[in-house]
């Protein structure tokens, strides 16, 4: 912990963080654009300027960018200093020299970070009286709308898309006031996480095209916390509806699960909810009836016959439970084969009583080594693939911390670790998108992959039965990081 003096008042703050994050955590209104909690600081936008003082006698101080400055004990800073306030206002003024007057017609209006920061800094009047620079927009696929005139060059899009999510087809082009973010040519964005562009972008450059189909302003949306149902991870979402139709899915932050992001399937795969052929009224053999008539008919059937209820793993737990309650436990079938049902029960038993519990997504992200046994995460649990992509940085980042470069100084950390990767082993029966990050990939049939799993288990606990056909020679060095074993099959 350290003592930080903000406008002559003392605060106890955590060390290791930068001043911007610290001030925001304390609840101060300090504007910023390019810093992002998951992407770190780069110091590009200059919006977060504050004053720092040598000691209590220094009345002038000097302007610094709070996102690039680490917390130091007994440091004296000011957020309300007149020069700092003025400078922050002028940064908005500079951004506004080229920013189009699109608010009235821009999808982002009402949920726009730039609008919020503009109001926060108090900039209001235009002194610039020349022409603005403009750009051509690109077709980027069915999910993301592209409107480059609105760009304020915070670089968050490429930092997320390329650095964080490993995407290859979005980049920064050109220089000076012509800097452009887009694809080398029009086309569908390839990354499974492209939808996060709509949330990391602080302006209306990248917006949700599905929302555009049935657009509504944020203040007209009724929202509720929800959980994504497209895979087993349970990413937290916010669902927004208006007039009875689902309009928008956005991220709900959860530090242990999905963090600040979602995959595209969860974000854009919600239109089935509004499907026209969903059952919205009671019906008997296709003919709509009122609820009362329906309940009477069901009661008649139940009392005069012996119905069985067939549940489904694709229906909700609530629906399955209600059906079982209705027909009775003895008449209820869960809708899957006995074999699959037994496997599910075994999985639950292992998860509950086994020696190691299931890792959280956060734990996957911060793991020193990852072994994927027989899974293509990018397809079955995309957000976990994104977590694995962060895990391979952990071991190399230890060297960065050793020389006292803070990890939030993202560009410096990436420069120091270059292409170094931590241990990642993938065993799968076909190519996966994570293969390019792996220390080693193992290709085999599901049976062979299972045997590999048993072989590795035997390596950890040699009281277990031996598995023939595998050896694990030791000592594969990589840039001073020793990996203790490699997989050799046959």
């Amino acid at each position: 912990m350290a003592t930080l003096y903000i406008d002559n008042k003392a605060y106890e703050v955590k060390t290791g963080k930068n001043l911007l994050e610290t001030c925001l955590t304390l609840g101060f209104d300090l504007p910023y654009f390019c810093w992002h909690p998951a992407l770190g600081s780069v110091g590009a936008c200059r919006q977060c300027a504050i004053k720092v003082y040598k000691d209590e006698n220094d009345k002038k101080g000097r302007l610094i960018m709070s996102c690039m400055e680490p917390v130091a004990n007994n440091q004296r800073i000011s957020i309300t200093d007149e020069e700092a306030v003025e400078f922050r206002e002028h940064v908005i003024e500079w951004l506004m020299t080229n920013h189009p007057h699109d608010c009235a017609v821009c999808d982002e209006g009402g949920s726009c970070h730039l609008q919020d920061m503009t109001v926060m800094t108090g900039h209001a009047y235009r002194r610039f009286n020349f022409k603005k620079r403009t750009h051509r927009n690109q077709y980027l696929g069915p999910f993301i709308n592209h409107e480059m005139n609105r760009c304020i060059q915070c670089y968050r899009c490429v930092r997320f898309y390329k650095d964080y999510a490993g995407g290859k087809d979005l980049d920064s082009f050109a220089s000076r006031s012509n800097v452009y973010f887009g694809r080398h040519q029009d086309g569908v964005l390839e990354s499974e996480f492209s939808g996060n562009l709509t949330e990391v972008c602080p302006t209306g450059v990248f917006t949700d095209k599905t929302l555009k189909e049935h657009y509504t302003r944020k203040w007209d949306l009724t929202t509720a916390p929800s959980i994504c149902q497209h895979c087993s991870l349970g990413c937290n979402t916010i669902a927004g509806e208006r007039y009875g139709s689902l309009r928008l899915i956005t991220t709900r932050y959860n530090g242990e699960v999905n963090g600040y992001f979602l995959c595209d399937r969860g974000r854009f795969g919600y239109e089935f909810v509004n499907g026209s052929d969903r059952i919205r009224t009671a019906a008997i053999r296709g003919e709509s009836v009122d609820r009362e008539k329906m309940i009477n008919e069901v009661a008649r059937i139940l009392s005069t016959s012996r119905p069985i209820g067939i549940g489904s793993p694709r229906a909700s737990l609530e629906s399955n439970f209600a059906l079982r309650a209705l027909v009775g436990k003895d008449n209820f079938y869960h809708g899957v084969s006995d074999n699959e049902h037994d496997l599910a029960n075994l999985s639950i038993k292992i998860l509950r009583d086994g020696p190691a519990r299931n890792a959280t997504m956060k734990e996957v992200e911060t793991a020193d080594a990852v072994f994927i046994l027989g899974e293509d995460l990018t397809n079955t649990a995309p957000m976990m693939a994104l977590a694995v992509r962060q895990s391979i940085r952990q071991v190399p980042l230890q060297d960065v911390t050793k020389i006292n470069v803070p990890l939030w100084n993202d560009a410096a950390a990436r420069e120091l670790i270059q292409e170094d990767k931590g241990p990642l082993f993938i065993a799968a029966f076909q190519e996966t998108k994570l293969d390019e990050l792996a220390t080693q990939t193992f290709r085999g049939s599901p049976d062979e992959i299972a045997r590999l799993g048993f072989a590795v288990a035997q390596l950890i606990d040699n009281s277990l039965p031996e598995v023939s056909g595998f050896s694990f020679p030791a000592g594969n060095e990589n840039n001073g990081h020793a990996y203790s074993h490699r997989i050799v099959a046959g």
Binding site: A44, R46, L63, F87, E415
Partner: protein, 430 residues
């Protein structure tokens, strides 16, 4: 008067071959160091000599080298910044084209001092003549055993490569140069960490200017005291000065550090052309503040020029005469700066085009009095620390000094709604 850097230039301006360079004492310094000096001893010698970086910043070269951790993992890098693109500057070109071996020897000595394994010459693409001279000189040096493995049997290895840029001014900025050399966009890096800790490919790196590196063999050969005594002031050594503009004899001369501006312009450059009077000069190329008539007797060294309110920078003067429009002069410079901005930070990316557009309007007679306030607003806010690197503060130096010394010209353009110099107004702003 000793001229160690240029005394052996051939009259026909062709580069000295290896044999020619050796015949005038070339590579003796390398032999001396490899025979019996430790890397630290070389660094201490350069520190003692008071050599200040000739790239424009004037930082103590020896001190810069001493920040390289000697126990760092390999490889370490030594880079020569030959991306001379400061408008008005042409001193490095002369050294590169005439004595490439002087640079190579200086680089080997510097690399030895910091125990670098790999070195690069980052050359401006437009210097094609220099490029060819360097390619030839590198081949000669490798063949003679001055580069490569086990140089002169000393056990020290050094590889040296030529890399040409593609023409962005930003690549002359040390950290943007590193990014460019790595194949990335040429935007600068935040410091700390400094290149001595995390430089090229994240490894310890030193970047030095051509002229700085050319001084090293001479310091090794003749010692620190000799180097200090070459100068007329506290800043040691000789300096390649240049003068351009409407003088009788524009050119470059190697002179003792600390000659006055008057001596440079009137004695060496032959004074202003007939019918023209001296109005002012940028002492170190485009990104330095104007010095005017009252400064003619200021000594051209780092300390004295700074005290007069400017920067020595590269020491190549751009002279403004009394028949050239100062507004057009500054507009031309700001057009260059707005175009060369890398676009990473807001004040530079958005502020410089605005400044250019305002100057263009004033030059065309469409300026307003409040435009001067807007220009001053930019000179105040595009200061060091407010922007990501020193580019924008440099861009503001000619503007802020022009507003200080030639304000009446700006006001006349506005009140008369025309340019009194009757020059062809080329509208550069879109």
């Amino acid at each position: 008067m000793e001229r160690p850097l240029t005394e052996h230039m051939r009259p026909d301006k062709l580069p000295l071959s290896l044999k020619e360079y050796e015949s005038v004492g070339g590579y003796q310094a390398l032999r001396k160091v490899l025979k019996g000096m430790t890397p630290k001893a070389v660094t201490d010698l350069v520190k003692e000599s008071n050599l200040r970086g000739r790239g424009g910043a004037g930082f103590s070269t020896g001190m810069k080298w001493s920040f390289v951790p000697m126990d760092a993992p390999k490889p370490k890098y030594l880079i020569c910044n030959a991306d001379e693109m400061e408008p008005g500057t042409f001193k490095d070109r002369i050294l590169l084209e005439s004595t490439p071996h002087q640079l190579i020897e200086g680089m080997i000595l510097s690399a030895f001092a910091i125990q670098a394994d790999i070195s690069y010459i980052y050359l401006r693409w437009a210097y094609k003549v220099a490029g060819e001279a360097i390619i030839k000189a590198l081949a000669e040096a490798y063949e003679a055993g001055y580069l490569g493995k086990n140089i002169l049997g000393s056990g020290y290895d050094l590889e040296m490569y030529l890399h040409t840029g593609v023409g962005r001014y930003m690549c002359g900025e040390e950290t943007a140069l590193l990014n460019s050399l790595e194949g990335k966009r040429a935007t600068p890096r935040a410091k700390p960490p400094f290149p001595q800790i995390s430089g090229l490919f994240g490894k310890p790196t030193i970047v030095n200017n051509v002229e700085t590196l050319c001084c090293i063999p001479h310091i090794v050969n003749k010692g620190a005291t000799w180097f200090q005594q070459l100068s007329k002031t506290g800043d040691a050594g000789t300096k390649l000065y240049g003068v351009s503009g409407k003088v009788k004899k524009p050119g470059a001369w190697e002179l003792p550090m600390g000659v006055t501006m008057r001596e440079l312009i009137e004695e060496h450059a032959g004074g202003m052309q007939d019918g023209l009077k001296f109005r002012g000069a940028l002492p170190g190329g485009a990104s330095t503040d104007f010095l005017v008539e009252q400064h003619l007797d200021v000594k051209m060294d780092y300390t004295s020029v700074a005290a007069a309110g400017s920067r020595l920078g590269t020491g190549t003067l751009v002279v403004l005469d009394d028949k050239t429009c100062p507004v057009g002069f500054v507009k031309n410079l700001e057009h260059f700066f707005a175009q060369e901005s890398c676009g990473f930070c807001t004040p530079c990316r958005e502020g410089l085009p605005w400044v250019e557009k305002i100057l263009d309007a004033i030059d065309r007679g469409k300026g307003r009095m409040e435009d001067l306030k807007l220009l001053e607003f930019h000179t105040k806010y595009l200061g060091p620390g407010n922007t990501f690197c020193a580019f924008a503060p440099g861009a503001m130096e000619p503007l802020q000094s022009a507003l200080k010394y030639f304000r009446e010209d700006f006001e006349k353009h506005i009140t008369e709604k025309a340019c009194a110099y009757k020059h062809e107004v080329l509208s550069t702003a879109g």
